[in-house]
Subunit: 538 residues, 2 copies
């Protein structure tokens, strides 16, 4: 009656390899087990790994594979295509928000080198934590009136956080001191460093909701990697990290070595009700739990959008990164709105809220099942007359599959258009994550995207960063470009877990005719299982 | 992203039909939908329906069918083989305890008559309710040290119960009055009756843990049906109802009609920490919520085992019920013990705690998959030297499939032997429920079953009741007999949800070679799906 889920990943989890060939050479199986509910299926998404040639290993329920049921085994076999800072997580229901995640670091291959030097490495996986179970959260989100999940009770650093106490009580009026020592779940993460060295901090966020900002007392941060791609180094005092983002920053331990320093994580973009998360940068040989003399750095005000934009737009591709094609073959404009469906609040894309099918797309499309897609394809644009500054004129939405069929090797532009939510004067931040690809982030704009010369002038075709996650700012738009060169079915969605659950996503069905043979274990459910059992599709 | 589960049942849910032919004639599809978790599978067991010829519709996950995954559809088609009082419930993980249950009443066919008369009918489905989610309960039960689920917070009558208040506050010192009126979830069930009539009360229990006793102020109860079988009528002041039991009782409204009367449900067999559940027998034209002047009847002391035995052993088959075969072909003796497995507390049968397979038995056995069963079959007996009065001498258990393979049309005796649990001086009550069959309850004994002449003398071969659920009393044994005339794979287990979850059950694999063609939707998972997709078993 137990429910272990077994799978293998090539080169996963701190294994030293990178690049297709080297990875295959260095391949070593790791056997991971999770204990999940006795009645729940599970899948694992390898966030940032492009799954080139293995779309069935992308780990998205209802999209790339059948959920792995209790007691069943599914083997994830894939090649990590480039070194970088990644993570893995559940991609079924809201299981990521329930804590099903971990870091996935791909080192450079033997004999290769990173384009920057460092003496040591530290890893920070950031998340948020709710006391309410995801089951209750899901029921609340689907209820009418909706019961919103609210703000998290704690922010977590490598799974550790505090509740109802403060690590930095000396600097936080009205709070009591947490028990900082020992090996308790609430004990802070200690990041041990030697003075006068340079460290690579790998930082990723798998939060359910919270957008974050990180700062380290007295220390500057040099950003060198974003989402597994090298960026032109730049120096900041603090940095934003949205759910789905990953970064590497270099930090030099050039401060007074007799002290430790606070690593502070705060909430961005929403009025914070959650205390900052703290970790300790521990200058050896100080004790790990020696509390810093100076206060934790205060992260910027949650609604200082200008500060966020300044950080995000500083990110440029490092020299040597392939530039984007000069033109695109297709432009898909996606309006992000909050809508209502029979009184239920939904997130909609071009007025259609995404629902996922009983039978995963990769199998049903590959087998050519007639029921795989609805008759109508979603629109490539929304009306130019739409007023993004006000609540939707027509708040009623429909549901749909939101599947965009992409032709092989076409260059696709996506413009993500933010808008006002159902309430007046509310427009939220949404970090969109693309599976199966990196995209170039061509640019950001304010207000409605018009596709005119002024908008075109805002695009950077010289050194836009390659990423797999990009944010849209309130009332603004973000333009992305990618080449449809990886046959498969790929989710593209807001990485905020409750927003995805409320329909905020689309699907790219890309060159299905070129997808290789899908393993049976990925299609042994629903209509594909029936078709295969009936011998309809040998 | 919603998870409706659709299925059909013939003649289910208060449809008027009974008997194979009449049922088929009266068949009318009912479409039921449950909202379950977005990541959970589900199955529905039709408790008491024997599923003659349709073992794939018995609704037992890992046994009779693959779990129905979110967004998938499974159609339950079966014939209700005889009229009676039944219920349906989830049979996957502990979903029954989460509230997945309802009543299933099969009326006599047109032109047929019950062997007793009544003027009206009332229905009571009893259950218990925990504030802790079943997910947390399951984690606690599997933990070391185990976190036991404890006693329920409320008892429920037709899904309604009270917490932290009393309906009968006037008679319950130190409590506050519940809000009895209105249509609140906590409002009591009102049972409207006319004076000087006879009513049939249908009563069933689907509790997770609690054994119950029911009494109605000033009224006698005449028991006429147990588990869908007529019994020789007998009159009681109160009656026990174990989880899995169903009864019909006749009640005559011959009391002062100016008053209403309390229906009271209390806990039996475990030191109760749960307040009695109350409903109102409403003599019209009194208002429904008019509180009775006299106190609710006090159900017997929880540990008055003699009272329980007196009730249970009064139950005899009504004249005309088929008697059991005079002899049996096989006797299976099942020792019920609590054991430990690597420090985890388990319930074991003959020292083996049942675990269920990844691929349901009905499909894997029917397809002849070599992996369907472990090499060793469980034992038909346990050592005569076992001392049932003390904690197990060897408390260590193993896990196993506990599958007994039964030959077609053999007569099987089962002796359920209770024993001391891990703690000294603890032996609990366990109601065992058999799928696919009724059995004759031949008798009950104290202490260890020896199979000698004295034990044989305790057996009733004349008019033992036919039932699908039978209790074992502390330190005692219960002897059952059934004929293996229904090919299929049938669970036989303690109906206490956490006990089943902890391994307290066995499986009867009966005449698999005679099972008809299993619908593909019942086997579209695990090794059977793989075999069928590979064309190994056309």
């Amino acid at each position: 009656m137990r429910a272990p889920v077994a799978f293998f990943a090539w080169c996963a989890l701190l294994l030293a390899c990178g690049g297709l060939l080297h990875c295959a050479e260095a391949a070593k199986a790791r056997h991971l087990k999770w204990e999940v509910s006795h009645t729940e299926g599970v899948v694992i998404h390898w966030h940032g790994v492009r799954q080139i040639g293995t779309p069935w290993a992308d780990g998205t329920a209802a999209i790339s594979q059948c959920a792995i049921n209790p007691e069943e085994t599914f083997t994830y076999r894939f090649v990590v295509d480039k070194p970088g800072t990644y993570f893995y997580h559940g991609h079924y229901g809201m299981q990521r928000a329930a804590g099903l995640y971990g870091s996935l670091i791909v080192d450079v291959a033997d004999g290769e080198e990173e384009p920057f030097k460092y003496d040591g490495e530290l890893n920070l996986l950031l998340s948020d934590w709710y006391h309410e179970s995801i089951y209750n959260q899901m029921v609340g989100l689907s209820s009418s009136p909706m019961r919103w999940i609210g703000e998290p009770q704690s922010l977590l650093i490598n799974g550790r956080g505090q509740f109802n106490c403060s690590l930095a009580a000396a600097h936080t009026p009205g709070t009591k001191q947490c028990t900082a020592g020992g090996n308790r779940h609430c004990a802070p993460v200690i990041l041990p460093v030697e003075p006068n060295k340079t460290y690579r901090l790998r930082i990723a966020s798998t939060t359910s909701l919270a957008s974050l900002n990180l700062a380290i007392g007295n220390h500057k941060l040099t950003v060198v990697e974003a989402d597994g791609n090298y960026v032109e180094p730049f120096v900041v005092d603090d940095m934003d990290i949205y759910s789905g983002d990953s970064y590497s920053v270099l930090l030099t331990t050039d401060q007074d070595p007799s002290s430790n320093y606070w690593v502070s994580i705060g909430v961005r973009g929403r009025a914070p009700k959650t205390a900052p998360a703290l970790a300790l940068l521990n200058y050896r040989p100080n004790r790990g739990f020696k509390l810093p003399a100076i206060a934790p750095p205060v992260t910027p005000a949650w609604n200082d959008t200008a500060h966020s934009k300044a950080f995000t737009t500083q990110i440029k591709a490092r020299a040597g990164t392939p530039p984007p094609p000069a033109t695109s073959d297709r432009r898909i404009e996606l309006l992000n709105t909050q809508n209502k469906l029979d009184g239920h609040i939904k997130w909609s894309i071009n007025n259609v809220s995404m629902v996922l099918p009983a039978t995963p797309y990769l199998g049903s499309l590959k087998l050519g099942l007639k029921t795989a897609l609805a008759a109508a394809r979603p629109a490539d644009t929304f009306g130019r007359a739409y007023d993004v500054t006000r609540p939707p004129h027509n708040p009623n939405t429909t549901t749909g599959d939101n599947v965009y069929v992409l032709r092989h090797n076409t260059t696709v532009d996506v413009v993500l258009q933010n808008a006002n939510a159902l309430q007046h004067n509310v427009s939220e931040v949404h970090p969109w994550h693309l599976h199966g690809h990196d995209f170039w982030v061509l640019g950001y704009g304010e207000g409605a995207y018009r596709g005119d010369a002024a908008d075109a002038a805002r695009l950077n075709l010289v050194n836009p960063p390659l990423r797999n996650t990009a944010v849209i700012f309130p009332y603004g738009w973000t333009a992305l470009r990618f080449v449809a060169d990886n046959p498969g079915v790929w989710a593209f969605h807001c990485h905020i877990e409750p927003h995805l659950h409320m329909g905020m996503g689309v699907i790219f069905a890309e060159a299905i005719e070129r997808v290789g043979k899908v393993p049976k274990e990925a299609v042994s459910c629903g209509a594909t299982a029936t078709a295969l059992m009936n011998g309809d599709h040998p």
